[in-house]
C-alpha cells in the first residue's frame, strides 16, 4: 500500500517523457511552398538547395521571375552553378547588383538530404 504513490509518480514520469518524445519541437526545415533543388547538388557533393518561396514572395510578385527567368513547372529548369554565375536563373538577381553574389555557398546549399517540404493536407496527389 505504501508503494502505490511511488508507482503512480513513475507512471506519470513515463507519460511526461513520452509527451516530450511525441511533441516535435524541432523547427521545420522548410515551409509550405518551398522548392528543393537537388538535380545536381548532391551528385556534386553539395547539400541540396531549399529555395524559400515565401521569402522571395514578400519582396517580388510572381510575374517578376515567372515565366521569364524560371519556367513554372517543377523539373523544367536545369539550374547549374555555371549558369548562375553567368547571370542566368538565380544569377539574374544574385549577382552582387540586385542581391548578394553567389559566393556564399551555405546560404542556399543549406538543406539536408532528407529535407521534407511541408505538403498541403487533403487533395494531395
Amino acid at each position: 500500500m505504501k508503494k502505490r504513490p511511488f508507482a503512480f509518480v513513475l507512471v506519470l514520469v513515463l507519460l511526461s517523457v513520452g509527451f516530450f518524445l511525441l511533441v516535435d519541437r524541432q523547427p521545420s526545415q522548410a515551409e509550405y511552398g518551398d522548392i528543393t533543388l537537388n538535380r545536381h547538388a548532391e551528385k556534386a557533393g553539395m547539400p541540396p538547395v531549399v529555395f524559400p518561396h515565401w521569402f522571395h514572395r514578400i519582396r517580388f510578385k510572381c510575374k517578376v521571375c515567372h515565366p521569364a527567368i524560371f519556367e513554372m513547372r517543377a523539373g523544367s529548369n536545369d539550374i547549374t552553378m555555371k549558369k548562375i554565375v553567368s547571370k542566368q536563373f538565380c544569377g539574374r538577381c544574385h549577382n552582387g547588383t540586385i542581391s548578394w553574389p553567389p559566393l556564399y555557398c551555405d546560404r542556399c546549399h543549406a538543406g539536408k538530404s532528407d529535407v521534407t517540404i511541408p505538403k498541403a493536407r487533403g487533395f494531395v496527389k
Binding site: V13, S28, A30, I58, W100, F123
Partner: protein, 222 residues
Amino acid sequence: MLTPRRKTSLLVIMMMMLGALVFVGSPQVQAQDGADTQSDDDFFKSLIDPRQAIWMDSRGVIAGTGDPNGFVGEAFRSGKGAHPEALELSNLPLDQYGLVNWARAIREGFITPRHSLDPTKQNKPDDKPFGLALLIPTKSESMPDVIFPHDIHTMWLTCNNCHPEIFAMNGKLNNKVMTMPKIAAGEYCGRCHNRIAFPLSDCQRCHVHEKNAAVPEGVKAP
C-alpha cells in the same frame, strides 16, 4: 483521502506538467524576444555590409550573414536550412491551416512586393489588376459554384503566366474540361494551388456561389 505523501506526489506531478508546458512553449517566447531587439538589429546593421547580409524577415531585420560564428538565426546555425523561424517573425496574416494568407497580405498592405527587376520600371506603379470575375459552374449538384476573381491573381501574375498554356482564353472550353481530380493532379488551378498558393482542401475559398442563386453584379456567367 489525500495523505501528505500523495499530496507531495501530486504537487510534483503538477510542477512537472507546468515545466513541460513552459518547455514546449519556449520557442515562441524566444521568437517574441527576438522581435523586440530592434536596437540590437540596428547595431548589427551598422557592422555588416548590407549587400552581404541576408534580410530574413519582412521588416528587413538581419538574421544572418553566412558566417557561422556571426549573428545567425538559431535554425541556420543548426543547419536546418532556409529561414524557418524568420517566417514566424514576419507577422503575416495566416489562414485556417496556419499557412500565410498571401491574398490578405497583399490586399491589406502587409507587404508591397516589387513588380519588376528593371530599375526604370520599379518606381512606376504596377499595371492595375484586371477586375473580371468569372462564374464557373461545378459539375456536382451538391457543390457550390466557383467565382474566379481575376483581380487577386493579376495582383501577383501577368496574363501570360496562365494564358494560353494553363487556361485557354475561352471560358466555356475550360469549364468543360476542368475537373477537381485533374486539378488535384496538378493541372489547371492545381499548377499553383496545393503547391505554392493555398491548398485545395480550403474548399470555401473558391466554391463561394450557391447553385441557382442570382449571379452577383460584376460577375460574368458563362
